[in-house]
Structures are given as C-alpha cells and as structure tokens.
C-alpha cells in the first residue's frame, strides 16, 4: 500500500480528506504511483502532470523521506520507506505567488 499526501486543492477536487492510498503490483516509481492515483481519482488527470507529455507540472513537487524527488526520473524507484508504506509520497504545490 502506497500512501500519498495531496495538496489541499487536489484533496478538494478528488473529494478526499487526509492521505490517500493506492495499491501497486509492480515497481514503485513516480510513474506507477501517479498512474494508479489517476486511475482511482480520474479528476486528478492533468493536475499533477501533463496528460500528453506526462511531465510534472512546473509548480508541483514530489517530496518523501525529507528528500526532494521532483527531478528524479519517472521510472526511478521511490525510497524503500515509500514502497513499504512507512512514509508517504508528498505531492506539493510549490510556494509561489502571494
């Protein structure tokens, strides 16, 4: 079970509160987690990554285990603590604007 913490605006859009969880069968990567997240919450498609290029939106960041994973490749393994469910993957709206 992978734990994901969404920013407030996306929790509202997905009509969830608190963490969400997704099940993965294969490797635990950004791509796999986001694929599973968007399959479970289709309204999130396009809000975290582009729907055509699958590139992370510029003002969205991925943090976990006190590391910024935003620039990791989409197929790079996420930390073991995320894969085991000990730590959540944080989807963060960058602090920008007023």
């Amino acid at each position: 079970m992978i734990r994901v913490v969404l920013p407030a605006h996306l929790r509202t859009l997905a009509q969830v509160s608190g963490e969400v969880q997704v099940q993965l069968q294969g490797p635990v990567t950004q791509r796999e987690v986001l694929d599973a997240l968007e399959a479970r919450y289709p309204m999130l498609r396009g809000t975290i990554r582009d729907q055509v290029t699958y590139r992370r939106r510029p003002f969205v960041r991925f943090f976990a285990c006190e590391q910024d994973l935003s620039h990791e490749g989409p197929d790079a393994p996420l930390p073991d603590a995320v894969a085991s469910g000990a730590q959540p993957l944080l989807v963060v709206g960058a602090m920008a604007g007023g």
């Binding site: 920013p7 605006h9 509202t12 309204m43 582009d50 729907q51 003002f59 969205v60 960058a94 920008a96």
Partner: protein, 371 residues
C-alpha cells in the same frame, strides 16, 4: 415570478448571485472552487440547470466543472484539450516562432439547443467542442490551421480565444475572436474559417489595415439580428452590418475608445453598452470615474451612465467577459470589476447599485433569466 441568476467567475472562485425579478434583494452563494481562477461560468440556453465552469490555476492546470442543478452541486468533467495533429507554431511576443501550448479555457459557450454540446475557447488560441456534456473535447482545428495561424501573436493577456458567438438563425454559423488575431467566421459549423476584419485599423501592428493581427477585445450580437455585430477593439468601438465582412468605427463621442466588454440590450438591438477605460497602459476609468456608456443609436452617439457608480477615486478595470444582460422586460445590465464589485442595473443602465462589493477580482459575469 421570474428569477435572475448571475454567474460570476473571479480570481479565487466562482459565485452565484440570485434574486427575484425585482432584482432588489440578492443572495450570494460561494465561493465555489475556492482558491482557483474561474475564467468563465455559463449556463445552457437549452437547459438552465446545466452550467459549465472553467477552473484553473498555474499550479494544477485546467479543470472543467459541470453542474446539472443550477450550481448547487458540481462534478469535474473532461479536461483533456489536445490540439489536433502536430500543432506547429505561432508568433511569440518578440516575433519568433513559438509552439502552440494549451494554457487554459477562457470561455465556454453552450449550444443554443443541446445542453450536452458546448464550445471552449482556449489559450493558446483554439476552439474545442464537446458533444457529451464536457467529458470529451475535440478541437475544431480548421481555425488554428488557417493559413494565417502561424502569424498570430498573443495580446498582453496571452493568445486567447475569448469570444464565441453562435448564430441563432443558422446553426452552421459561428463567430470567434482572438487576441491578437481578430475575428473569424465559420459557415460550416466550425470546419473552415475565414478572417472577417476588413475595416479594422490598428496602429500598433506593421500594416494597420492587415487582414489578421488585430487585438479584438470582444464582439457582441443581438439574437434577433445576427448580421449586426458590435466590437470593442483594443482601441476603437466598431460595428458590422454584414456579418463581419466589413466594419466601421462607431466610437463617436466616447471619452476614450479603449475598453474590454461590449454588450447589447436584450430587447433593443440598437442599444449598446461599453465601459471606456483610459488606455492600454492605464487600465482604469478616465478621471477615476466609473461610467458605463450607452448608445441607443447603434453607436456614435453615447451617453455616460453614472447613477450609483463611483464618480471619484475609482481605479478598477472591467474585463472583456465581465458584462452581461438579463432578458426581463426592463433589461438588467450587470458588470464586475477587478476590484471585486458586481454592479447591477434593473433599468437598462439608468441607475446602478452593487450586488456585492468585496469579491476577488472579477473575471467574468454571465446572467440567466429563469422562469
């Protein structure tokens, strides 16, 4: 008794303002989609309970919301706006080629007859249509693929398709306007397009009389007379009597002919409203006085309407999609400001009062007149 529902899009959410036909007492409902930019909310003429809203932020991109109960509840629908084929390039501000990139939906125009059919005008300029209530969107790419497409340039606010007018007498005829390309018309339901900008003159472009490249801010028509179009251009208020084939200036005695919105009285096709703004570098009313100007002669002769509007120290703007009219017997006129006020007139502009004063900056105002 009739009701009026005013749909307001703001920088930080949507608001729904309702009143009975007297338009004296208003209820303010919202914010919906708090914290998101709501460029436009509009109801279906065929089913007033069906509303569409364009919701976006720089962080999380574009969402389209739909309501089937007049705005009480909403559900996100499709937000995939993929240009047809390889989109190519348009001109950037500096004149260099720039790839077409979807940014946001500026304007949603529901079909006049089918609640599930809705058009979306987007930035970078393109026209999309959904026929399933907003779930799937398909580009009407004949517009973007027009021979002039690679020469289009953005206006200061982005290269947006901001106006969509559907001809109530001919379902195949559509007008759209793009900043800063101009007006285009389709006679075949959006398959092919031709620019209709003859008569426009813009000093800020290399050929002031060019066929394409004009910064058109808004166009409007009266449904009973769709051959007649009115335009607020960057500078100049214009009129066409031949479906856009030719335009002539009707700025007349306006204190300035710069502005953004333009609209037509619900029952008087020759009565037109604009909000003069000082200039393209001073986006506020002349002399700090907020005045709507009304022409009852289809342009050229304008009267300033001031009753109930601030006449000193007012430095707000009124954006292009932020004016609308209702269709009650005494036509109501509504507009919103970047200062967060929504003003209403229940007497065709003779007098005004604010419905609300302190919303976030208003991006759009639409009105539904309900039985």
């Amino acid at each position: 008794m009739s009701q009026v529902r005013v749909l307001v899009g703001t920088r930080k959410g949507a608001f729904i303002l309702t009143a009975d036909g007297t338009r004296d007492q208003w209820t303010v409902n919202g914010p919906h989609f708090a914290g998101w930019e709501i460029y436009h909310v509009k109801g279906s003429p065929a089913d007033p309970a069906r509303l569409y809203a364009s919701q976006s932020t720089s962080w999380f991109g574009q969402v389209v919301q739909r309501s089937d109960d007049g705005g009480r509840t909403w559900q996100p629908v499709g937000n995939t706006f993929t240009y047809d084929g390889v989109p190519g390039t348009h001109q950037w501000y500096d004149g260099t080629p720039h790839p077409w990139e979807f940014a946001r939906v500026w304007h949603l125009e529901p079909s006049l007859t089918d609640p599930d059919t809705v058009y979306a005008g987007v930035e970078d300029a393109g026209l999309f249509r959904s026929t399933d209530g907003g779930r799937e969107w398909r580009e009407l790419s004949g517009l973007r693929r027009h021979d002039s497409g690679s020469s289009w340039q953005p206006g200061a606010g982005g290269m947006c398709l901001h106006t969509i007018l559907l001809d109530p007498t001919d379902p195949a005829r559509i007008f759209i306007a793009i900043s800063a390309a101009g007006v285009f018309r389709s006679e075949d339901a959006g398959t092919t397009w031709q620019p209709v900008n003859r008569g426009l003159r813009s000093e800020g472009i290399p050929d002031p009389n060019a066929g394409v490249g004009h910064c058109v801010h808004r166009i409007a028509m009266h449904p009973s007379r769709p051959d007649v179009l009115f335009m607020q251009k960057h500078w100049d208020v214009m009129r066409s009597d031949d479906r856009g084939d030719s335009w002539h200036e009707v700025s007349g005695n306006l204190p300035t002919d710069f502005g953004f919105p333009i609209d037509v009285h619900a029952h008087e096709p020759e009565t037109v409203y604009v909000v003069p703004i000082t200039s393209d570098s001073e986006h506020f009313p002349p002399d700090g006085r907020l005045r709507v100007y009304r022409s009852r002669t289809g342009g050229n002769e304008w009267e300033g309407l001031t009753a109930g509007l601030p006449q000193k120290d007012c430095y707000v703007n009124v954006l292009r999609d932020a004016m609308a009219v209702d269709s009650l017997d005494s036509c109501g006129v509504y507009f919103g400001t970047t200062g967060g006020q929504v003003y209403a007139s229940a007497d065709a502009g003779d007098s005004w009062s604010p419905i609300v004063r302190d919303l976030p900056a208003v991006l759009s105002v639409e009105v539904q007149t309900l039985p």
